[in-house]
Each structure stands twice: as structure tokens, then as C-alpha cells.
């Protein structure tokens, strides 16, 4: 082996590494249970590096913009922004509450969920690759976060927790290609599923051909997915394409500007669908 020249050895090494990758991929594709240990450990470790880097940069930014620059204006602006954010979240909660009281939920004697338990989290990093739309937040299992918890912002739905570590969590954005949420058109109550496309737009699919959907309609969460609470804004219908009576494509512009997110809220209260599923599972 020692006599082999460097080109041959690099070829063998290349084949060995490729084989390793194929085995690694095969192992994951075959087993569909939970989060891979390698992913959890690497994410947990790297999240600490991200946290440190983010806090250094955020600290420097805060010093520059808060003290050197517009000190008083920045403070006022922060206060007003947080008040506005709280008001918008409250508005969404009220909207969700009104929606619920109109429906049949009262008859089903579901308990009052007007106040969702949430925890605020700061975004400390963006996705590691442009192919996946994820964010890292600075709250984890220590703060009560679990996989599949909904993440919202004052403007609307952001995504869901996919990999929580002790002090950080990875959030899959609603615009990711693998993301989806049960949705309904607020005006006509037409149901469907909002799917991420990997870019800045969403697509509303599985809409009945007799449903009434027009451009400008507000799309909200339906709550049937067991992740997102009912009545939270997803976005507005941006385009409707039809072929006869059948909808071929309904695009939705997200209410949240994913490019300028800084803080989010993680919904700790389980949704009715998830509670029902849990109760069904334990019986």
C-alpha cells in the first residue's frame, strides 16, 4: 500500500469517504424515529458558539446604537416597539378568542384558552445552509421548549421548534420546503394546508374547488395540525390561479417578514388537537 502513489491513495480515500456518507445517509433514511443523536449533539454544541458570537456582536451593536448613537431615541423606540408587539400579540389572541367563541367549540365544552402561555426568545443565528429555512433561538428545554411547539411573532406565525437543546432550539420557518400548517381563509372559512416553498412565498393547497378564495383574503391557522393554535395570521392571498372550477395554485404572502425577525414567542400551551391526541394515546 505504501508504494501506491498519491493519486491512487486519494482515489481510495475518496471512495472510502463516499461509502461512509452513503452508509450514514442510509441509516437515517431507514430509521424514521426521532432526532438523530449526532444532529442533537452537534447542534447543542454549536448553538453555544452561536450564542457567544451572537452576544458579542449584539453587545457591540447595542453599545454602538444605544450609547454612541441615538441613545434616547433608541430607548424610546425599543419601549414603543415592545408595547406594539405586545398589543399585536394581544390582538391576535383576541382574534383567536373571537373566532373560537363563534364556532362550535363552546358546545364541545373545550376549556378556555384565551391566554396562551408563551416565552419570548431571541434569534441568535440563521440557518447553516441556504437550502433549509431555519433559525436558532436562545431558549431550549430548560425553558420548557419541546419539539413541535409553535413559534409566533407579533405579525403572525413564524414556524415550529424542531430540535431543542438545553439552552437553544432550532426553529423550522413556515417558508421552509418541508414546512406546512393547517390553514383556513378567514372570510370564507375555506380550509386548506399552507406549504412552504423555500422562498419568500407560501402556497395554499388542498382547497376544495367549491371554496371561495380571492386575492387579499387573510389566511389564518386552523389549529387542526396540532402545532399551531387556531386563529393566528399566516398571511394574505397573493395570487389565485384556476383551471375551470379547480384551484391550480393559490399563493400566500406571509404576514411575517422573516428577514427582519429579531425576537419571537414560543407557544408553550399545547393545542386542543395535540391534547386530544395525547389523551387518546394515554387512554
Amino acid at each position: 500500500m505504501a508504494l501506491l502513489d498519491i493519486r491512487q491513495r486519494s482515489g481510495y480515500l475518496f471512495l472510502a469517504v463516499m461509502l461512509g456518507h452513503v452508509l450514514l445517509i442510509s441509516a437515517q433514511v431507514n430509521s424514521r424515529a426521532g432526532v438523530p443523536v449526532l444532529e442533537a449533539v452537534t447542534f447543542g454544541t454549536f448553538a453555544e458558539v452561536q450564542r457567544a458570537t451572537s452576544s458579542v456582536i449584539s453587545g457591540a451593536q447595542r453599545v454602538w446604537s444605544g450609547y454612541v448613537g441615538l441613545r434616547h431615541v433608541k430607548a424610546d423606540n425599543d419601549q414603543l416597539r415592545s408595547q406594539l408587539a405586545a398589543a399585536e400579540v394581544e390582538l391576535q389572541e383576541q382574534r383567536a378568542l373571537a373566532d373560537r367563541t363563534r364556532g362550535l367549540e363552546r358546545l364541545l365544552e373545550l376549556r378556555d384558552r384565551s391566554h396562551l402561555a408563551t416565552t419570548a426568545a431571541e434569534i441568535i443565528a440563521a440557518g447553516a445552509t441556504p437550502d433549509f429555512r431555519t433559525l436558532t433561538i436562545d431558549k431550549g428545554t430548560r425553558d420548557g421548549l419541546r419539539p413541535d411547539m409553535a413559534v409566533i411573532a407579533p405579525a403572525g406565525v413564524v414556524g415550529r421548534v424542531v430540535v431543542p437543546s438545553a439552552r437553544a432550539a432550532k426553529v423550522q420557518l413556515l417558508i421552509d420546503r418541508n414546512a406546512a400548517a393547517g390553514a383556513l381563509v378567514e372570510r370564507s372559512r375555506a380550509q386548506g394546508v399552507v406549504m412552504g416553498q423555500g422562498d419568500t412565498e407560501l402556497e395554499l393547497q388542498y382547497v376544495s374547488e367549491v371554496a371561495d378564495v380571492v386575492v387579499g383574503d387573510v389566511v389564518v391557522t386552523s389549529g387542526i395540525d396540532g402545532i399551531f393554535p387556531k386563529g393566528f395570521i399566516i398571511g394574505r392571498v397573493d395570487g389565485v390561479e384556476k383551471n375551470g372550477p379547480q384551484y391550480t395554485r393559490i399563493t400566500v404572502k406571509p404576514a411575517v417578514d422573516f428577514g427582519s425577525l429579531e425576537d419571537v414567542l414560543v407557544v408553550l400551551t399545547p393545542t386542543a388537537a395535540r391534547e386530544a391526541a395525547t389523551a387518546g394515546g394515554t387512554e
Binding site: H21, I25, V29, R177, F258
Partner: protein, 169 residues
Amino acid sequence: MKTAGVIVAIAAALVLQTTLARFVIHGTVAVDLVLVVVVYVALTSGPVTGLLAGTLGGLMQDALSSGVIGIGGLAKTVVGFLAGVIGTQFIVAQSLPRFVVFVAATIVHALIVIGLYGLLDLRQFGTPYAAVFGQSIGNAVVGVVAFQLVELLPGAVERRRAARHRVRR
């Protein structure tokens, strides 16, 4: 020393990709800095270092994403190996050939990732021509600029030192 440099470069690219991108262009950056580092390392150090850098960077990136661990690693391994072979077989010392290598590497990387996800029926990418084109241009620009900086900076510092020395005399 060289191995440590490669590891540090990949780690720095990952940190930049995940952290600074959010502040500069709000996280929607269409540049894969890890891929840029892998191609850079491959062109400067050869196929073996290139494929090992690709494996390390790709696996790290996979582990930090929500996809299958190994697909990005495999794609970057292939790209690192091929870029290294090109670097040893051809003269890639000018900006234009380097630009072409970065563009080709990004396209090959995208083809492998999209192809594997499609083959395993894990994820449908549709026809992301514009996204791949944008990313290949972005990666090529960043890569060529990185080459220029690394090559020109030591010379510039040396010239400045020499100029100071002359003024003193």
C-alpha cells in the same frame, strides 16, 4: 498546522454563515460560505485535503440543518475532490478560471443535493434555476475576492513596510 487552518476556516465560515448573515442581509443570503472554503482549500491544497475539508464542512452543515446528515457532506466531498483534481491538473491561478471553478462547483453541489433528495423522495426542489444561478455567482464572487485578498495582502503589507523604511532613512 495546515489541518488546523482548514478546520478553523470551516468553523469560521459556519459561524459567519449562521450568525453574521443575519445581521448583514437578514439571513436570506444566497452564498454558501462553507462551499467557498471547501473549493478554496481544494484549489490550494489538492484533492485529498479538498475532499476531507468537504466531508468535515458538509457534515457540520448537515448536522446544523434539518435535513439528512450526509447528503451535504457527500456533495461537498465530491466537489472538494473534483476541485482539488482540477487544481492539480490545470493552471487555475487567474481570476477568471477560478470564477468558473467556483460556479461549476456550486452547480455540481446543487445537482447532487437536489438529485439525492429527489432520489430518496425526501424533498422536492422543483426547478430552482434562478436560486442555483444566484448562489453560483455569489459563491464565485466571494471565492475570487477571498483569493485576491489572501494573495495581495502580504505583498501590500510588505510594500508598506519597505516604504516606511525608506522614509526613515
